[in-house]
């Protein structure tokens, strides 16, 4: 079933996320990060993915969208950083469906989230492109 293109532009609820020291430490250990700047002060740049996984559920699981997660492949990932994410800070991510389009047999879903700090300043813009294999009906 093709994705519901009417959801293009839909914005979801903001989700708050605390950059917990234990979670950053676990992430550092998993990726082999030993730089003391990252272990003590900042989250490594791709830690943002954890925030996205914890905040983008309302979009990918949106019943109106019709996404079957078993068919999904991660196509592209983009991060624009205003500054590094600080350990211990509280951030808010607001996911939004930036685009839905069909190309050949596949549907493409672009989810964008501005991740802002307590002062309302954007820290990171995260943009994820997911591919839904074979659902577009094109050839």
């Amino acid at each position: 079933m093709p994705l519901n293109q009417a959801l293009k532009g839909k914005e979801y609820q903001p989700v708050e996320f605390t950059v917990e020291p234990d979670q950053v430490r676990q992430f550092d250990d998993a990726i082999g990060e030993h730089n003391p700047d990252f272990r003590e002060r900042f989250a490594p740049p791709t830690f943002v993915t954890k925030m996205q996984i914890m905040t983008s559920g309302q979009a990918v699981l949106d019943q109106e969208l019709g996404l079957n997660y078993a068919l999904v492949v991660h196509g592209e990932q983009e991060y624009d950083y205003a500054r590094p994410v600080r350990i211990g800070e509280v951030l808010t991510a607001t996911p939004r469906i930036a685009d839905i389009y069909a190309k050949g047999p596949n549907d493409y879903l672009v989810i964008e989230a501005y991740i802002k700090d307590a002062a309302g300043e954007t820290v990171v813009l995260a943009r994820t492109t997911l591919l839904s294999r074979g659902t577009a009906g094109g050839g």
Binding site: D29, N35, I53, E76, P84
Partner: protein, 142 residues
């Protein structure tokens, strides 16, 4: 902190980093737990085979994390990375050696920023396969 890379130290076409990592099953499991992405494609061989792979594959983000670390290891300054955009184009299998690389594509002296071509490659059956390709990073240097 490592010494930071300076704008005047790099030139167009230069390879600025090359970082290898052997991808182990336990690393991929640790990444699943740390990132929260528990998709069985990255943990369950039977599931991976049912969708056409010979066994589990690493998360695309696992490879991007390795690339991100290679970048920040080279840069020294955590604030220097301004943008990282990647395309995932091939799976990575267990026990393969993933190599993250970057070369300087363009320099802007006015803003002291450099645009890098970045990618990740593995050697597979005599071929060079690029799990991450057509990708870029923008860095702002001292």
């Amino acid at each position: 902190m490592a010494a930071s890379v300076r704008f005047d130290d790099i030139h167009e076409g230069q390879e600025v980093f090359s970082a290898s990592k052997v991808v182990r099953r336990e690393d991929v499991k640790a990444y699943a737990d740390a990132s929260g992405d528990q998709n069985p494609l990255h943990q369950d061989d039977d599931f991976a085979r049912s969708v056409g792979f010979p066994g589990i594959i690493a998360h695309g983000m696992f490879s991007m994390a390795h690339l991100g670390k290679a970048l920040t290891d080279w840069l020294g300054d955590p604030a220097a990375l301004k943008r990282l955009k990647v395309q995932f184009r091939a799976p990575v299998f267990m026990d393969e050696t993933l190599v993250a690389k970057g070369t300087v594509k363009a320099l802007d002296p006015a803003t002291r920023t450099a645009t890098l071509s970045v990618w990740a490659e593995v050697a597979r059956a005599g071929d060079r396969v690029l799990p991450i390709k057509n990708s870029e990073a923008v860095v702002e240097l001292a």
